[in-house]
Subunit: 333 residues, 2 copies
DNA sequence: GTGAAAGCGCTAACAC
DNA sequence: GTGTTAGCGCTTTCAC
């Protein structure tokens, strides 16, 4: 493989200076038809492709953004990544994928990369409680937008789904089906998403004359779903409905219920949160509060673009959720 | 935000030349403790971070690899991406995520990027039949390794799972449970994965005295799963077992079966392929041929590394699959 | 409308 | 061991 052609080569072939060709390529110039034709021909002949590193070095930016998520191997974040990538690509930006594994050092590492303009901006989704480092690291920078989960105390643009409303929707759906004793299984009690979902749920349940007789907090994971389900089954007194705060928790619960010979619906009505997996294909299909994942990705990207274009305010955007009714809630009425 | 410090600044602060600092940073040099201490201090004080673009431009490579997949929003590719990213990260390489949406132009675009060293190498997973462009585009380049699905006629390192063996395993499992009339639903008949899964299945079925009474080819998608299931239900004559070539197809089939009041197991035994989704949580849990996704990612990455380090041969690596027995196959014996 | 020249921040000969 | 000197390929003043 011989050395690829440079701007210089194109300029030479077109009998022009590199500067002219560069300007033409960047559209900052209207050239006479004759000149531009020469350039086009030279480019085609040499199969010229600009070198993005040289370009980035010279311009001080990379036309690349990063997406920091806990783990791509999770349907929710996979869908988020897909949405973001579509938008970024349409805008001519490349997407750097960064799985933090929820580890602080890794998150900080990516923020450092941002500082050194490896990427122009970052979409940041974390899943754990910050002890201050993130706030400090991100605070210094303006091109970060927070998605999905809050970082308390950080001033930055943020895009979330309306978690509280989601909790409310779940409770109201259960109320409408005659349930009066409910339970909730959430993620970490300290993080915003669980706090809000739980609060909205409890709020609406109580307002509707029901009680949330049991609440379990742990993590958004299958094992915790199992654990909480076992406890719920052991302790429950007349609970007829359960709201779980993520699909992973749901899977753990389903597993334990099957083990225990309990039927979803007849023995316990269930609503889950996220609706990122193939819930419609479970038996019974599971009713869920659906997060607007596609739209979160889109919106977050747009906010980041605005930032890159100089926007300075720090909006907190709440996207509407939606209850998808399937077959996992029994009508007691 | 003031301009970030450069190598120059560090050198100045440490009373050295940029070259020395650069060498030290790249480990190509053992410095006297005194000198290196001065550098370390300067770096810490200035909070220096190397500029990756300058580095890439100068060295002619980027320490970044690309992963081209049809769509990240698919559990199989999401898991593959996760595996690749873990390895890449451990090796100090960044990962550029490229969703091709299975479109040729987009695939070619990413290959062009490779040519211009935006990335050092590419892991390439496509899902459609190549009409020659891909072979030509990739053929010119040596830093591409093909994963998951073959590109016919291309000479390059390739990492697949053992699709034929997967088909065989499925048939043998059904045989062992007394099934003698079977059906198969695959993806596009023209692509390697479907060809092989189908061939292995048919081969082993016939060898075991069974017949594959119906075969449907289409695409790895839920809608096609539905379509094929409808036809199967309409046409089937005494078929007791079905092997589907992907999880997506499975979901479509399950949907139609539920609509039709058919029971998985009692009315029709099912084995699926991939095992990337939450199959264990379906009811009944679905028996599957599991692809070694994690290992495919790992292996593909390693082969790419070898390439980047000058390896020149073109191995075709077949990774072993495994049958995960659950509850969707009824014993007829 | 076009060109010359300086630089972006780093690495890699080549010297000493 | 350390410094000097050229680039890497592009963008961007500043001229004309």
């Amino acid at each position: 493989m011989s050395k690829p052609p440079s701007l210089q080569d194109v300029a030479r072939a077109a009998n022009l200076s590199p500067a002219t060709v560069s300007r033409y390529l960047n559209g900052s110039l209207a050239l006479p038809a004759d000149t531009s034709a020469r350039i086009d021909r030279a480019i085609a002949e040499l199969r010229y492709q600009p070198n993005p590193h040289a370009r980035s070095l010279s311009r001080g930016r990379s036309d690349t953004i990063g997406l920091v998520i806990p783990e791509i191997d999770n349907p929710f974040f996979a869908k988020l990544a897909a949405a973001v990538e579509r938008r970024a690509d349409a805008a001519g930006l490349a997407l750097m994928l960064c799985s933090s594994l929820n580890r602080k050092e890794r998150e900080l590492h990516y923020i450092e990369r941002l500082r050194r303009n490896f990427v122009d901006g970052l979409l940041f989704a974390t899943n754990h409680v910050d002890t201050g480092e993130l706030v400090r690291a991100i605070g210094a920078n303006s091109n970060v937008v927070i998605v999905d989960e809050d970082i308390d105390g950080l001033v930055a643009p943020k895009v979330f789904s309306d978690n509280r409303e989601g909790g409310r929707l779940a409770a109201e759906h259960l109320l409408a089906h005659g349930h009066r004793r409910m339970a909730f299984i959430g993620g970490p009690q300290t993080i915003m998403s669980t706090r809000e979902r739980s609060a909205g749920f409890r709020e609406a349940a109580i307002a509707g004359g029901a009680t949330v007789a049991a609440e379990y907090f742990g993590s958004y994971s299958i094992p915790f779903g199992r654990e909480a389900a076992r406890r719920l089954i052991a302790e429950r007194g007349g609970i007829t409905a359960l709201f779980v705060a993520s699909d992973e928790i749901l899977y753990g619960v389903l597993d334990v219920m099957r083990e225990s010979g309990l039927s979803v619906g007849d023995d316990l009505s269930i609503i889950t949160y996220d609706d990122a997996g193939p819930l419609a294909f479970l038996d019974p299909p599971i009713t869920a509060v659906r997060q607007p994942i596609e739209e979160m990705g889109r919106k977050a990207f747009e906010v980041l673009r605005d930032r890159l274009n100089g926007m300075v305010d720090n909006p907190v955007i709440l996207l509407p959720v939606e209850l998808i009714e399937r077959k996992s809630v029994k009508n007691l009425a």
